[in-house]
C-alpha cells in the first residue's frame, strides 16, 4: 500500500520534472555572469582556475556561510552524541601489514592534500578538496589501529585559527578596500605559486578548517562508546 502510493506520487513528480526540464537545452549558454567570470576573471583576480576565483573572490561571503554551516554540523554532531571527554575505544588490533602501511602512507596523503589546497588557484583542486583528502588520511590512520590519538584540543585550535584567518582577511579587506574580502594584495605574475592576491591565504585557511572539522567528525563517530 505504502509502496503503491509512493510510486504514484513519484510518477507525478517525474511528469512535473519532465515538463520543466525538457525546456532546458543541454549544452547551451544560459547565464551572462558565467561568461563575464570566464572572460574577465583572469585579469581581475589573477587566478588561473576560474572555479577558485568564483568560490573565494566573487562568492567569498557565501563561502564563509558554507564554512559556518559545516562548523555548526560538526558542533551539532558532538552535542548529539554527547561525548564526555577523552576515552579510549575498544578495538581489534589491525594486522601487521595494515598497521605498517598506514605509518608509511599517512604522511604521503597529508602531503597530497596540502599540495591540492596550496595549488588551488593554478590547478584543479582547492581548500575543500584538499581538506577532504586530509580527513581521509585520518580515516586511514584510525583503520590502521593507531593507539596514539590526535588531541581534540589541537583539532579545535587549528579549526578556530583557520576560521579566524578567513574572517580577519575579510575584515582587513573591508577596512582597506571598502568591502568584505576586497583584494588587498597585488595579483602578481600569473601561473606562479605566489600569485592571485588573497586567494592562496583564504584557500589554505579553508583547507585546514575543512580538514580538521571532517577529521573531528570521524573522530567523534568512532570514539563514541556506550
Amino acid at each position: 500500500m505504502r509502496k503503491i502510493i509512493s510510486v504514484l506520487l513519484l510518477s507525478i513528480v517525474a511528469v512535473g520534472i519532465y515538463l520543466s526540464v525538457s525546456h532546458i537545452p543541454f549544452g547551451a549558454p544560459k547565464t551572462k555572469v558565467g561568461g563575464h567570470y570566464v572572460e574577465q576573471g583572469m585579469e581581475e583576480t589573477g587566478a588561473a582556475n576560474m572555479v577558485t576565483s568564483v568560490v573565494v573572490i566573487y562568492r567569498g561571503f557565501d563561502t564563509l556561510g558554507e564554512v559556518t554551516v559545516l562548523f555548526i554540523a560538526a558542533v551539532g554532531l558532538a552535542a548529539v552524541l554527547g561525548i564526555a571527554g577523552q576515552q579510549g575505544f575498544p578495538r581489534e588490533p589491525a594486522s601487521f601489514v595494515l598497521r605498517n602501511a598506514c605509518v608509511v602512507i599517512f604522511p604521503l596523503i597529508l602531503l597530497c592534500g596540502t599540495y591540492i589546497f596550496a595549488h588551488g588557484h593554478l590547478t584543479p583542486g582547492g581548500g575543500f578538496q584538499g581538506g577532504v583528502v586530509i580527513a581521509s588520511a585520518f580515516v586511514l590512520s584510525y583503520l590502521g589501529g593507531r593507539e596514539r590519538r590526535i588531541s581534540k584540543r589541537l583539532f579545535g585550535s587549528v579549526e578556530s585559527l583557520a576560521g579566524l584567518v578567513f574572517v580577519t582577511t575579510g575584515l582587513i579587506g573591508l577596512a582597506v578596500g571598502g568591502y568584505f574580502l576586497s583584494r588587498i594584495l597585488p595579483n602578481g605574475r600569473p601561473y606562479s605559486l605566489l600569485s592571485a592576491g588573497i586567494i592562496p591565504i583564504i584557500y589554505i585557511a579553508i583547507g585546514f578548517k575543512v580538514g580538521s572539522e571532517l577529521a573531528g567528525i570521524i573522530d567523534n563517530l568512532i570514539e563514541e562508546t556506550k
Binding site: 591540492i116 578538496q129 583528502v133 581521509s136 580515516v139 563514541e224
Partner: protein, 79 residues
C-alpha cells in the same frame, strides 16, 4: 563517447537501485559508493575536474567510512 556516457549512467542507476534493494546494509553502502564514484567520472566528462575531485574523495572515502562506523554502532541487517 556518448555510448560510454550512456553505459556509465545506466550502471549508476543500477547501483542506486541496488543500494535501495539490498537487505544487507553493508552491501547497500558499497553500492552507494559505486554511485558516487561513477558520478565523479560523469563530472569529469562534464568538464568539472574540481567537482570530480571532491566527489571522488567524499563519495569513495568519507561517506563510506562514516556509514560503516554507523552500522558498526547499530545493526548490520535491515529487518
Amino acid at each position: 563517447m556518448i555510448l560510454i556516457v550512456s553505459l556509465l549512467v545506466l550502471l549508476m542507476l543500477v547501483g542506486a537501485v541496488a543500494a535501495c534493494v539490498f537487505k544487507d546494509l553493508l552491501s547497500a553502502i558499497i553500492a552507494a559508493a559505486l554511485v558516487s564514484l561513477i558520478a565523479a567520472v560523469l563530472f569529469y566528462f562534464l568538464q568539472a575536474p574540481d567537482v570530480a575531485m571532491a566527489e571522488a574523495a567524499v563519495g569513495a572515502a568519507l561517506t563510506t567510512a562514516i556509514f560503516v562506523v554507523a552500522i558498526r554502532r547499530t545493526n548490520r541487517y535491515e529487518q
